[in-house]
């Protein structure tokens, strides 16, 4: 071998290519199809993995260094927040309920994303793709843990967060975000990437993170705000990965287009349904509001997403289906969702309440065409009844949509007074849906969605009791035992905010901090 001579300086791209691209090889002792058994069954055709453009070029040493520095900063802030009783600086203890929603409903799903990206990373034969996915798998466990660590301090002082992994798997409304992720990870690797990498991380993530992170900032929660900001620099990488995947797949073969289009339709709709919970959070749960759900949808989906779909049109992709219905529903879903959680407040893990007059006026202003007409009378009626000691707790279990698993609370496109009913029959059994979108998703893959673990049906099947419970015993009351199974402490984690332990404690602690009594 020759003695090395003065070397040409490598460009970053060239250098990164050497650091990753050459590492793999065509196996010969085992067939490639056996080494990568999941690369083809979805029907996506990839002819040349080398056409993958690395969306970011981060070698592991740089990654470790950069991320460690971020963690150092973040944990310093979390520690200071805890030490200073930062939680007493939030606007109002009602705010803490948004964190309950987040910790129970999102943080364990960040962990699911960690597993999902590990799965697809291992599954893709292309090196560049695999490295990008595995790095995201690593980032996702970070997000799960930094969220848990940030909110750990809240758990010490407030109710409803103490059993978040159990609650995600059991509490009825949690099956909505959970089934979304179960759906994505049980799909093939390409569909997972369109579902999570593209539709969720790119198209919808701003609608999840901006409301929560800005909500935290607006309501004085430095702890939650900081993990949000610190996650943002990872998100930029995740978003570019989602975009690269879709470009790559569409450019590889024209036969991929209809498959990808169906996935975009499906996952935009699935994601949109999950965001119903965020809509409710924005309009009802933040004591100091950031913007209305409707405004957020217009900015983050209609404007930003619009520019994206305009460019995707060049590949032959059209905007997701059912946007006309979404457009109509943006005036309604937050109110419909809050009505739901309010009336089923006996069976959930956080507190609900009726908006004050001032808050109702804000809602009227933000939803001039719908709030006063359809929702204010309902809320005022409930508030009056509550004052009379007759607070509405709906104790009869609702009918759920087979696909999105949200109770059938949505109304007909164009008619907010009529519940939307759709049904299909598959192998002699009826299945019910909240919308055309959910029905079409089922109809395409009935073998998948017939497996749905629908919380209401599971209760009736006797599957939501702890071991040792005898449902045939005399005087058997299902609600307490179901709450036991959920890990929800009756009267402590649930029911109205008014009169709750959270409310009393916060008032007392804050009083002690701000007065001399």
């Amino acid at each position: 071998m020759d003695m090395p001579v003065a070397k040409k300086k490598l460009g970053l791209k060239e250098r990164y290519a050497l650091m990753t691209r050459g590492l793999d090889w065509q196996t010969t002792y085992q067939p490639m199809d056996k080494v990568f058994p999941f690369a083809k069954y979805e029907g996506i055709k990839i002819h040349d993995w080398d056409k993958w453009e690395d969306p970011f070029r981060l070698t592991m040493d740089a990654y470790w260094k950069y991320q460690a520095e971020k963690e150092k900063k973040l944990y310093a802030i979390i520690d200071a927040f805890a030490q200073n009783n930062g939680h007493l600086g939030v606007t109002d203890a009602r705010y803490v309920n948004t964190l309950k929603l987040f910790l129970n409903g999102i943080s364990p799903l960040e962990y699911m994303a960690h597993r999902g990206f590990a799965h697809v990373g291992r599954a893709f034969p292309g090196v560049g793709t695999r490295v990008a996915c595995l790095m995201q798998s690593l980032d996702e466990i970070r997000h799960s843990q930094t969220q848990i660590h940030s909110m750990s301090n809240y758990n010490k002082y407030y109710n409803g967060m103490h059993s978040f992994p159990k609650m995600l798997q059991r509490v009825w409304y949690m099956s909505v975000p959970r089934s979304f992720f179960d759906d994505a990870v049980t799909a093939g690797p390409f569909e997972f990437m369109i579902a999570v990498g593209f539709s969720f991380e790119y198209v919808l993530t701003n609608l999840l993170f901006v409301p929560f992170v800005s909500g935290a900032a607006y309501n004085g929660d430095m702890g939650a705000m900081t993990f949000g900001f610190s996650a943002q620099s990872d998100e930029a990488r995740h978003m570019t990965l989602g975009l690269e995947v879709i470009k790559f797949v569409l450019e590889q073969d024209p036969d991929n287009l209809p498959i990808v289009q169906r996935w975009i339709d499906k996952w935009t709709w699935r994601g949109y349904r999950v965001l119903t919970l965020v809509a409710m959070m924005m309009d009802y749960m933040l004591p100091k509001r950031v913007m209305s759900w409707k405004e957020a949808w217009e900015v983050y989906f209609e404007q930003n997403g619009g520019a994206l779909f305009k460019d995707l049109a060049r590949y032959g992709i059209r905007p997701p289906k059912w946007l006309d219905q979404i457009e109509f529903d943006k005036d309604h879903i937050s109110h419909q969702a809050w009505s739901t959680l309010y009336q089923y407040g006996g069976a959930s893990n956080f507190h609900t309440w009726m908006p004050s007059d001032e808050e109702m006026d804000w809602l009227s202003a933000k939803y001039p065409n719908t709030f006063d007409k359809f929702y204010r009378p309902r809320f005022e009626h409930w508030r009056d009844e509550q004052k009379k000691g007759n607070r509405f707790y709906n104790m009869t279990l609702p009918m759920l949509c087979q696909t999105c698993q949200i109770p059938m609370i949505f109304t007909e496109p164009g008619d907010p007074t009529q519940t939307c009913y759709r049904e299909s029959t598959h192998k002699g059994m009826k299945y019910h849906f909240c919308s055309d979108g959910c029905k079409e998703i089922f109809d395409h893959e009935p073998e998948k969605y017939k497996q749905s673990w629908l919380p209401v049906h599971q209760i009736y099947q006797g599957n939501c009791f702890n071991p040792g419970v005898d449902p045939t015993a005399e005087g058997f009351k299902p609600l307490p035992v179901v709450l036991d199974y959920y890990g929800v402490g009756f009267g402590r984690d649930n029911l109205d905010f008014e009169g709750s332990e959270d409310q009393k404690n916060f008032a007392a602690w804050r009083g002690a901090a701000t007065t001399n009594v």
């Binding site: 009918m399 073998e447 099947q461």
Partner: protein, 120 residues
């Protein structure tokens, strides 16, 4: 034919097949224009339950919170099953009324339009 793309045959029993409900079947019912109840209800009921018992014993517990429930004139109530007009025989069982597992009913009460006419 729509099918799940999978690495091997992908077929399972439905999670909600009739035999999982210990002798009951599921029946859903929604009260049109009364969205105070955010969604239709789901009940596990004996297939032999007479329709009358369903209306007189089951529904009050579910819909009774609504001030208009007491005002329902049941002789004028209209019913839809799976969206089609449906005339129940009050004294026959659910099964004999043609209501199978996971049937869905809509109740319409003309003249009752919800709290302050808001479909609540």
């Amino acid at each position: 034919m729509a099918a799940v793309a999978a690495v091997k045959p992908y077929e399972f029993e439905a999670a909600d097949r009739l035999e999982n409900f210990h002798g009951n079947q599921l029946l859903y019912i929604g009260w049109d224009q009364h969205l105070m109840f955010c969604a239709p209800f789901c009940f596990p009921l004996p297939p032999a339950m007479p329709f009358r018992a369903f209306v007189e014993q089951v529904l009050p517990g579910a819909f009774g919170y609504h001030p208009e429930f007491k005002q329902i004139d049941w002789s004028k109530a209209e019913w839809l099953a799976s969206g089609q007009p449906f005339k129940p025989d009050w004294d026959k069982s659910l099964t004999d009324n043609g209501l199978a597992h996971k049937a869905v009913l809509r109740l319409r009460t003309p003249g009752l339009t919800g709290i302050k006419g808001s479909a609540t």
